[in-house]
Amino acid sequence: MPWIYIIVPSLLLLAFLCWKEVKRPNRRRLAARLLASVIAVASLACIALPLKRAIRQEPPANKPISRITVQPPPGIQAIYWPQQLHAGEPLQLQGRYNNSSANPVQLLLSGFNEHLDSITIPAGQQLPFTLNTRPRHTGRATYLLSAVAQPVQPRKSAQDTLEKAPIPVVVLPLRPLKILILASAPDFENRFLASWLGQHGNMVAMRTAISKNKYSYTFLDTARFQLDHITPALLSAFDLLISDRAALNSTELGSIRTQVAEKGLGLIIKADSSAGGRTFYNQPFPLTAAADKSERAVSLQTASGSAGALQMEAPVYIQPLPGTQALVWDAQQHTMAAAGVYGAGRLVNTTLRNSYTWLLSGNRQVYETIWSLLLQKAARPLPQSIQWHIGTALPRVNMPVQLYLETAMPSPPATVNGAPLSLAQDGTLAFRWQGTYWPTRAGWQAAVAAPGDTSWWYAFEPNDWPAIATLENQGQDSKAAIGPQATAMPLPKIYFVLAFILAAAFLWVEEKMGLTV
């Protein structure tokens, strides 16, 4: 309360001044002097105090409803996390917490009786927060986000759980990718990439040119087959093709191009500085070589943050063009890997040539992060006949939940928890179906559109996420109620300055008059 620091000294000053005036032997014009003192001190205080004047503004529409200003509710005001993850993906919770209490609040993410991550929100602040963990389970699990008040003095009994909410997460098992690597020369980069992919259950076939019309073949987690000639039938069995410019000859290029453009095959090209002809795969990614050819450590960044440093000699940069997305860039925003779309397929171009050194130096996590990003950007999407979307951000018990179904099936039979769900077809998008479900009990809900394919979603208790519920209600209210708005304008200080000068001048002049008389 800063105003108390102004009022109290002012009162003390006023008392002192009045006492001096009363004690003065010459008691002429005592009342006037006292009044002048009061005015002087009061105006001095008003100069210091942040005074405001309320102005009533008429609303644009003539709806005479008064508006009550409300404090933002304390607690978790916003929250987001992906409810469906793939195995190995990190779980990241982001939100905003309003701590209006006098104690700091610790936000704690726990799961399986273990504390996984925590962050402390200081007293009286409203801050965004991020909590991270890597789920180890496969299938469904609920984590727990709890807000615990931290007393200033650590005493066991005083720790108070303010809020507690389940964090449901479904982790989907990975489907291995099928990857074809065509290389113009043997190198470490492809060798390490293939063995990393093979170790984790992906199918890898690699053809490496070792001399004129001589190839070395590698098959990991698959049987041998003919790789001498790349045919459309062969390509359609793969999700992804990793290659470089010299390895693609013109006869094979045609079938690869058709596969990419029409069937959605992913293509990752390892670019080098040698300027090749303009082909479909390098047209969107013009290259520039760095002026500085010396070897240096380049710190790489991705959209999810800093990835790690890589020793590079004469790096080659990709010039950003409209229609391409930068995936990996350095501290000076030079793009080192970018993705683009070609027909139905995706193209990824990378100039990283020695990422295997990460594996050699034991920096496995960075290698996996970067290559997972590049591979899954390009990989041919998995065909699904049915996809469910939950339209409500935080579904609650006994509240309507919008469910959307995307499918090519005519009139799909859908059930939720065994009860049939009536779906309405979208007017413009014929493959989109919409239905409303009222969950009757909290917990996991099973949405089934085709037998054997269950999509799980979670319904929360009515009293979970209280602050978000309050904010949602307020938002709905404020849409309806737009009343006259009172805005506060600061009062001009000049009036108080004038009053102070007048009062002080009177006191000064009065003393001089008293002397002369």
Binding site: F112, N113, R136, P154, R175, F219, A408, G452
Partner: protein, 725 residues
């Protein structure tokens, strides 16, 4: 009692004073006791410390020589000091009248009059008041301490794994009436036999455990099952078959169960206390020691050997290397310590002085040694290898490679080698020289050493009071000015004469920091040598001189560069010949490999977590991917996943029973309940899930493909129209 005699009055006053004093002492003692007990209560939380503390405080303040007593002498002294009208004579009143002289009698009569006029206040009344206040304050402090209770104990393991090492609350099968387990620790521990009543074991490695189990009623068979695999049948020893006995030796961690008839009990842990190998800590010498010429050829070895049960022996394994080049010879010899090792003591502080000459070390030789210690379980430990080097000074003194170079040094420099030679000569001649001559020659050598030091100091940019070889300096020394007429107008010469010339700046930056630091070390040795020479101790100066010479030699060696042989010239390539070889015979290399998916076991555990989650939240699914009716117990596939997870946990529990045994028990309880189609215990689910979670490694980040709904004709039409030119 106005007419009391002075003696009576003094006596009564003394008693009152003593009472005050006693009360204030007691109050002080109680105050101290209250405050100390309050602090102890806050720290330890036990109020019972108050009693001994109070007693101790009372005894400590009252007992020593009964310090609270007030004698008549104290009273007299007090009166004399406090009341001037008594004229320092109050002591007369106590003495019998007859003993007093006339003057004293007169004075006594006067004093007696004065004494009736004063109303003495006992001293220390203020002290009494103070102690009362202190007592009140102390009591309040103590009351506050007891009111707010003890300080919370520091949280050692606040987060992380709270329940992992939780004790297993042992439950015996109801048929077992009493258990007596006798543990005979192995002989090497030196521990005696002990008994315990609980079934969980914590024993020394190799201990013999003897079970005696009483059953309520006659049992058909009773056996122990170790780690789910090994069975130890117990033998009945009485006729009613209620007392069963069995014995085995425990050699590794794990767990065991009782099998009574066909029924298995809970799991009981077996944890092993392993014997640690001895620990050797060498205090002196350093790992690498150089003994310079002139220093005593001894190495003082000082070390500590500790073990958890006892040490049976420790030896020094010394290897002496002598000779150089291809003629290096090694001689190994064990050296025993003087101490005798009984095997009972767990710690030895050992000392040994190694005489290098006795070991047969010559200049240029090296001694490697390490310490080997054995404990009474025949476990041995070795220290690191330490090295003592005796440098060959003959190498330093030879002037090979320098013979051809011209000696351009001015003659007033003596080289370090020359100084050494002369010092040795001086030591040899010491007996034949007079003391004065000896001292003066030693001092001269010190001056030579100093000049050499100053010369090298120049390279470091050191300024000296006298610059050697500087003309100006010699001029000053000889105290004559050259009044050459042609120099009369030479301003530079005059400036030179009166200015303080710094050393050439280039000298200071000429060398790289490493060379400079070595040069500095050389100068330090020279300083030390000069100090000894100037204080007439040439014998002590010799090691420093040698060290300085060695460092100088090293510096010389450093400036020599090594140029490697250049490679041979290759003939130029013929581009037209490249890639024209015959490749028909070259076979196509094909590598095929199927990686064994080591993650299958991990995947099972990951799925088990989902099954447990289903059990907990009651979502109901036969497996995490298949839908079924809600509120159901996992079907056969879910149960199978749990059983496989339990097998993996059992393996972990064998290795680390303290951490995983409770979870394994919970998991088995869970599976049993599910097999009987009963709801599972929530606490058991939590415990099992937590332990499975901690068993799972953090998953690797792997690529995956996105999803695309197929068969949507609208999107396909859109795509086709986009592609049309």
């Amino acid at each position: 009692m106005a007419e009391q005699t002075p003696i009576h009055m003094i006596h009564a006053f003394g008693q009152r004073w003593q009472l005050y004093r006693l009360i204030s002492r007691i109050l002080l003692a109680l105050t101290i006791a209250a405050v100390v007990s309050g602090i102890i209560y806050m720290v330890h939380g036990s109020p019972w410390w108050a009693l001994p503390v109070t007693v101790a405080a009372l005894l400590g303040l009252l007992l020593p020589a009964r310090s609270w007593r007030v004698t008549e002498n104290d009273v007299i002294r007090y009166f004399n000091v406090t009341y001037p009208e008594l004229e320092e004579s109050a002591g007369l009143l106590l003495q019998p009248q007859d003993n007093l002289a006339l003057l004293e009698q007169l004075q006594a009569a006067k004093i007696r009059q004065a004494l009736t006029g004063i109303h003495p206040q006992p001293p220390l009344r203020t002290q009494l008041r103070l102690s009362i206040w202190a007592f009140i304050a102390g009591i309040m402090l103590a009351a506050a301490a007891f009111r707010w209770g003890p300080l919370p104990a520091p949280h050692t393991l606040k987060s992380g794994r709270p329940a992992k090492t939780a004790a297993i609350n042992e439950t015996r099968p109801p048929e077992i009436a009493a258990v007596t387990i006798t543990i005979q620790p192995p002989a090497y521990t030196g521990k005696s036999k002990r008994q315990q009543q609980q079934l969980g074991l914590e024993v020394e490695e190799g201990a013999t455990v003897f079970w005696q189990l009483h059953t309520n009623q006659a049992a058909a068979s009773l056996s122990l099952v170790f780690n789910d695999s090994l069975r130890l049948p117990l033998q009945p020893t009485d006729k009613t078959a209620t007392l069963w006995e069995g014995r085995t030796t425990i050699a590794r961690n794990g767990f065991y169960q009782l099998q009574l008839g066909g029924k298995l009990s809970d799991l009981y842990k077996i944890s092993i206390i392993k014997d640690q190998p001895p620990v050797i800590t060498i205090q002196t010498p350093k790992p690498y020691t150089t003994i310079d010429y002139g220093e005593p050829q001894r190495v003082a070895l000082k070390l500590n050997v500790t073990d958890d049960y006892g040490i049976t022996g420790a030896t020094i394994q010394a290897t002496v290397a002598s000779g150089s080049g291809e003629a290096v010879k090694f001689k190994e010899q064990p050296i025993a310590f003087d101490a005798s090792f009984g095997g009972a003591r767990t710690q030895y502080a050992l000392e040994k002085s190694l005489n290098l000459a006795a070991l047969g070390m010559e200049p240029g030789g090296e001694l490697y040694f390490y310490i080997q210690a054995t404990d009474n379980h025949r476990q041995t430990a070795r220290s690191g290898v330490y090295m003592v080097v005796l440098p060959d000074t003959a190498q330093l003194m030879n002037i090979e490679g320098m013979a051809n170079s011209l000696n351009l040094k001015p003659e007033y420099f003596r080289s370090q080698r020359q100084i050494i030679i002369e010092t040795e000569q001086l030591i040899r001649d010491k007996d034949t020289l007079s003391e004065k001559l000896f001292k003066s020659r030693s001092n001269d050598l010190g001056i030579d050493q100093r000049l050499l030091r100053l010369r090298y100091g120049k390279f470091l940019g050191e300024e000296t009071e006298t610059n050697i070889g500087d003309e100006r300096v010699s001029d000053e020394d000889h105290d004559h000015q050259s009044n050459d007429a042609k120099d009369f107008n030479n301003a530079e010469k005059i400036i030179d004469q009166f200015s303080h010339k710094h050393d050439i700046a280039e000298d200071a930056t000429f060398f790289d920091p490493e060379t400079k630091s070595q040069l500095k070390a050389t100068l330090t040795e020279m300083w030390n040598a000069e100090l000894r020479l100037r204080t007439f101790k040439p014998q002590e100066a010799l090691p420093y001189e040698y060290k300085a010479l060695r460092l100088l030699k090293d510096l010389q060696q450093k400036s020599r560069a090594y140029v490697a042989k250049t490679s041979v010239k290759t003939p130029p390539l013929k581009p037209e010949k490249r890639l024209t070889g015959e490749l028909d015979r070259i076979i196509t290399p094909v590598t095929q490999r199927g990686y064994e998916q080591g993650s299958a076991a991990t995947d099972q555990l990951a799925y088990a977590l989902a099954v447990l989650e289903t059990l907990k939240t009651g979502g109901g699914a036969s497996s995490p991917n298949l839908a079924s009716d809600p509120n159901a117990i996992p079907g056969p596939s879910g149960l199978k996943i749990l059983q496989q997870a339990a097998q993996q946990m059992s393996r972990q529990a064998t290795a680390n029973p303290a951490r995983y045994l409770a979870a394994l028990q919970a998991m088995r309880q869970l599976i049993t309940a599910l097999e009987q189609r009963q709801p599972a215990d929530a606490a058991a689910i939590t415990l099992a899930a937590q332990s499975i979670y901690s068993l799972l490694p953090a998953p690797a980040r792997l690529p995956f493909a996105g999803n695309l709904t197929t068969g949507i004709s609208l999107s396909q039409q859109y795509f086709m129209n986009l592609n049309q030119p």
